[in-house]
Subunit: 318 residues, 2 copies
């Protein structure tokens, strides 16, 4: 007998996926599932957030609601799709105050509005304090972005600075007043306009959102694309509060930038000769490295070149 | 300060809905949300099931998985849509055994297969034992079934017998061996073929699934269509084990047939002169009454005519 606590989340998901009849459309492994609607893809992302496990101390209910929507829209963005709706299933304690619930719903609706769409449905049951959000989007055939298309020679880029969510978390933990870092943690901006604009260029070879940290995301893209990458440490845009938080808390900058996650920027690749096309999309981005041959070569060039560690994500381990 | 436990579920949902920007497409209130895809509607249903609250004693994990998918596909069926996918977000205890999880996933996949589609994605987090299922479907423009189209003079019909799920529940509670009734409770058959066939006739004026009991469903249709109904008690098809369970447990037949719910048959209306068209759809159905004028006239004709009580559904009340 094997309990789930003896396994990692990846192992559990792999076992589930290997037991299923293979679905048509896009196979599992990307940010969202995709259903073939002939002329376009319907993409669907579903993420659970617990009120205890996913709510940093001091986070308002409005921000909790925003976050539940944002993490799902971020997955839609990373597929290059246009959001078309958000569904929220809520397992709520009967001790919860109505005003808190209304704030949370308002946060979800505000995020949906930011993404150009609506909260269109859901379910409400008594339960332990959980939001299961589902975001839906559409992307024209031929424009869908996946994790598996990176080619040797491609450039690797990100849509914004990293480490901010980590700085937010560690500053809260240490009792530091750093509102910008806190916002970065609790006011996730899903890159929906950027994702759609990048997809429309036709130049992007692969894309995913950096929900679990740059290192995990790089490893994921390399694994699914069968390539390696060489990232230049100095090219990675670091959120401005990160050095100060590192100094005051002792958490290394590199830890926050590479491994913490929660930044929800897009990580994407494109051929070197398409640089002008991608620049014309008016999406702000930073080139942080290049795709190289060999899946075992996931390297970072700093004072010396070393391997980027893949720590995975472990939500189940005892 | 108002706690959720002081309110009914309907009140909570009404407060949420009144606070939202009105979504385009079909407004809230039906079994599923609907998004306009120009030539067709995308319908989306999301339902939460808790392992403690929604798992009758002795229910296998396989059946729990089936049920999580079936209750969502039932909502898709009631809109007349063709299922195109199922998403499962799982909040699982680390104490859960892997083999139980695999059984549960298999049950979901089997139900998706029964409905002609696949389990296409989801999320897995550590949590208190919850499934949030989301089913997706497509229905051609002009064929979507809603709860609001019943007209005076229409006939009222159901796709199968009622009271079976209740008989299952009360027989388990009383320690009676009634496998057929138990199956009716834990092996919900979503009426997807029936829903699609009824929608394709173009004759059906309104439709919903009977998840919370016939009485609640009738009241819902009357409220949204602005009509009344007169149901003939003797015309209601009663699941065969109901009288025996009633006799042995003391729970009245009427209680099981009208108020318990869990049967997931479709309740629908259509004009009298379209009876032949509906019969030609090859869907089995039973006519149980007719639509009358006046929203306050929700009556049942037995030895004497009386009002059908609307008890609503109360998942939150302390």
């Amino acid at each position: 007998m094997v309990r789930l606590g003896q396994l990692g989340e990846r192992e559990i998901v792999a076992k589930i996926l290997s037991s299923l009849r293979p679905p048509p459309g896009l196979g599992p492994g990307d940010d969202a599932a995709a259903i073939d609607l002939c002329d376009r893809w319907l993409v669907v992302s579903s993420d659970l957030l617990g009120f205890t496990t996913h709510r940093p101390p001091g986070t308002s209910w409005e921000r909790m609601g925003w976050m539940a929507a944002a993490v799902n829209f971020s997955d839609i963005a990373s597929m290059g799709a246009e959001p078309i709706g958000f569904i929220a299933s809520l397992a709520l304690s009967s001790e919860m105050e109505l005003s808190d619930l209304m704030e949370m719903v308002s946060g979800m609706d505000q995020c949906a509005e930011f993404c150009g769409t609506h909260l269109i449905g859901g379910d409400t049951k008594q339960g332990p304090g959980f939001i299961s959000g589902t975001a839906l989007g559409l992307v024209p055939k031929g424009e869908m972005l996946t994790r598996s298309g990176a080619k040797v020679g491609d450039l690797v880029a990100v849509t914004g600075s990293l480490g901010g969510a980590a700085a937010g978390w560690y500053s809260i933990e240490a009792g530091l007043e750093m509102p910008d870092a806190r916002d970065r943690l609790t006011l996730v901006i899903p890159r929906v306009k950027e994702g759609r604009a990048l997809a429309a260029t036709g130049a992007v070879s692969c894309c995913m959102d950096i929900s679990d940290g740059l290192a995990v995301s790089i490893h994921e893209i390399c694994r699914l694309s069968g390539v390696g990458t060489e990232i230049v440490w100095e090219s990675i845009p670091v959120f401005e509060d990160v050095p100060e938080v590192a100094e005051k808390t002792g958490v290394p900058v590199r830890e926050m930038v590479l491994h913490y996650g929660g930044d929800y920027e897009l990580l994407f690749t494109f051929p070197h000769d398409k640089l002008d096309v991608v620049r014309d999309s008016s999406v702000d981005f930073y080139i942080i490295g290049r795709v190289v041959a060999g899946g075992d070569k996931i390297l970072i060039a700093e004072s010396q070149i070393e391997k980027i560690e893949d720590r995975g994500y472990e939500h189940f381990r005892d």
